[in-house]
């Protein structure tokens, strides 16, 4: 039987900027098989909160080849939300997790050669879509440019992407840092022409990137989210409309938790 349910201990928790928390958990067994783009289901200790909170894996950490720590960076969505309870857990708190879940980013697809061009993957993140891309930068074997879009001067994880990627482009909506605008504005300002896009962020950003990639005929992989219950592909709560009939569901719906969360942009209907 594959193990999927773990009871792990919080190693540390800190607030990176207002409402954004960095939780590290000692989870050597779980992280053994985890990859960039996957997520975990976090159960809250308040048992009246029945459902897990899906949180993407920000980083898999460890010393040398021994991976033992799961890093989650997440946003507290409201005062009374489950994520608010999660942010109250101090080091030493025992937490139940289900994972790793989902398909992860297809690293092998990043190496697609374009005629006459070296691979240069655009790793594009918007707001709270940014954290899972950090592990992606660690795992991508080829040249990658991180393109990060923030609302304002709360530039969480920016410095870490500076080290993890070959190049960093930043946009802020209010213009307080980098290019004023969004991630596409930042790419255009640098005249950056990626060979492939891997992205995570709000739906309008994903739509724009899907179109941008289609216009340039480059592969585009997007990580999606939807309200979840089971997290393993059983309850059919978290579906996204697909362009074609899905071979498993036999209708035009794919499961974000199981068939995703990473999809080829043209596979899913983002309207």
């Amino acid at each position: 039987m594959k193990k999927i349910l773990y009871s792990v201990k919080a190693v540390s928790q800190k607030e990176l900027c207002p409402g954004i928390f960095d939780l590290r958990l000692s989870a050597p067994e779980l992280v053994q098989n985890a990859r960039a783009g996957q997520f975990v289901n976090v159960f809250l200790n308040d048992r009246s909160r029945l459902l897990p909170r899906p949180v993407s894996i920000c980083e898999i950490k460890g010393t040398g080849n021994e991976k033992d720590t799961l890093r989650l960076v997440y946003r507290v969505t409201g005062e009374k939300a489950g994520t608010a309870e999660l942010s109250s857990y101090a080091a030493g708190t025992q937490i139940s997790l289900l994972g790793p879940l989902g398909n992860g980013f297809p690293l092998e697809k990043a190496r697609w050669e374009m005629p006459g061009r070296e691979p240069d993957i655009a790793v594009v993140g918007g707001g709270i879509g940014i954290p899972p891309l950090l592990e992606l930068c660690h795992e991508l074997p080829c040249r990658k440019t991180a393109v990060l879009g923030y609302r304002n001067e709360n530039l969480f994880l920016k410095d870490e992407f500076d080290l993890a990627a070959d190049r960093l482009l930043v946009a802020t909506e209010d213009g307080s840092y980098g290019i004023k605008g969004n991630v596409l504005d930042a790419m255009k300002a640098s005249k950056y022409e990626p060979t492939c896009i891997m992205a995570c962020g709000p739906l309008p950003m994903l739509r724009a990137l899907k179109q941008y990639a289609a216009e340039r005929n480059i592969p585009c992989f997007i990580s999606m989210e939807e309200r979840m219950a089971c997290g393993v592909g059983v309850c059919l709560g978290c579906v996204v409309k697909s362009a074609e009939t899905d071979p498993h569901s036999c209708v035009k719906n794919k499961r974000v938790c199981k068939d995703g969360p990473v999809f080829k942009a043209e596979e899913v209907d983002l309207t």
Partner: protein, 304 residues
């Protein structure tokens, strides 16, 4: 006590190794959870509802959490009976557990078509979903009126080869009346409760949380209502009653058995703990050893 407690139960002549089953809609057709939990330990797997053709279900959001529970408005998305027979049934046959296929439809003809397609298949029991609150026609219509319940039960009973379990809706005034109607129609058993119709509103956005506006409430919050209804149904009919509604552990399961349930289904508990079903089997056995109960049937309806 040195003898192993007897946990076998019988529903309409079909023997289950223990009274623990999965609740339809929470376990798919077993494939996903089979990676994490041993299906051979279960009395039966009750599949997701199967219709005559693939159904896409409702738009998202389909899920909302509520205190000690959740609302779902999946809308009975399923791949249809053809794919079920060709792909999902052979998978389930690999395991030493009984197979209960849940059947859904918009019209009586659709239910009958599925029952007929399954009649030559290695399925042990049929569970007829006349109680899903999330499908606009056919769900509510059939399950809330005793005459309609009796009529659809009789029609299916005539065509179905396997024993027929009618799954009852709790969204009714008098569950005993509905249970009696199913029995009069020829049902071999009844199962209850399905989800209770509920609603959640986001006060910041001032919008319905579910795209469908309403959804079915499940989880521990509904358990007291479910236990009460199982008790009432068990006192209204002679056919076996299968109980479900917020069962998370063996004690919860035993409440239903003591209220009159021959077997129980475990549903949303799987979302919190994929091992819930087998832990409940073990927990019932521990209870029987602790209280010197040699046969589970001693506990059926033994409350009061």
């Amino acid at each position: 006590m040195s003898r192993e407690p007897e946990m076998k139960v019988s529903i309409a002549g079909v023997e289950l190794k223990n009274p623990v089953m999965t609740a339809s809609g929470t376990f798919g057709s077993g494939e996903e959870y089979s990676e994490f939990t041993d299906l051979n330990r279960l009395g039966a797997v009750v599949t997701k509802g199967v219709a005559n053709v693939p159904w896409a279900g409702n738009p998202v959001p389909r899920i909302a959490e509520t205190p000690s529970g959740m609302l779902n408005a999946i809308g009975l998305q399923n791949p249809g009976v053809d794919v079920f027979i060709q792909r999902d049934l052979p998978f389930l046959k690999k395991f030493d557990t009984k197979i209960v296929v849940n059947v859904c439809g918009h019209t009586a003809e659709e239910y009958l078509e599925v029952a007929e397609r399954l009649s030559e298949e290695p399925v042990d029991l049929l569970e007829i979903n006349i109680s899903c609150p999330n499908v606009k026609e056919g769900g509510i219509g059939f399950g809330q009126d005793p005459k309609a319940v009796e009529k659809i039960t009789a029609e299916i009973r005539k065509k179905a080869k396997q024993p027929v379990i009618m799954k009852l809706s709790p969204n009714v005034t008098d569950i005993s009346e509905i249970a009696k109607a199913a029995e009069s129609g020829g049902a071999d058993a009844v199962s209850l409760i399905n989800t209770i119709t509920g609603m959640k509103i986001d006060v910041v956005k001032r919008k319905f949380v579910l795209a469908n506006k309403t959804g079915g409430l499940s989880g521990p919050a509904i358990r007291p209502v479910a236990v009460r209804m199982v008790y009432e149904a068990a006192h209204a009919v002679k056919i076996p009653v299968i109980g479900m509604g917020g069962i998370t552990n063996a004690d919860d399961a035993l409440e239903f058995i003591l209220a009159g349930a021959t077997a129980v289904c475990v549903g949303s508990a799987n979302f919190r703990n994929p091992l819930a079903t087998s832990e409940i089997v073990d927990g019932i056995r521990d209870y029987m050893l602790q209280y010197d109960i040699s046969d589970i049937r001693e506990l059926t309806g033994a409350v009061g």
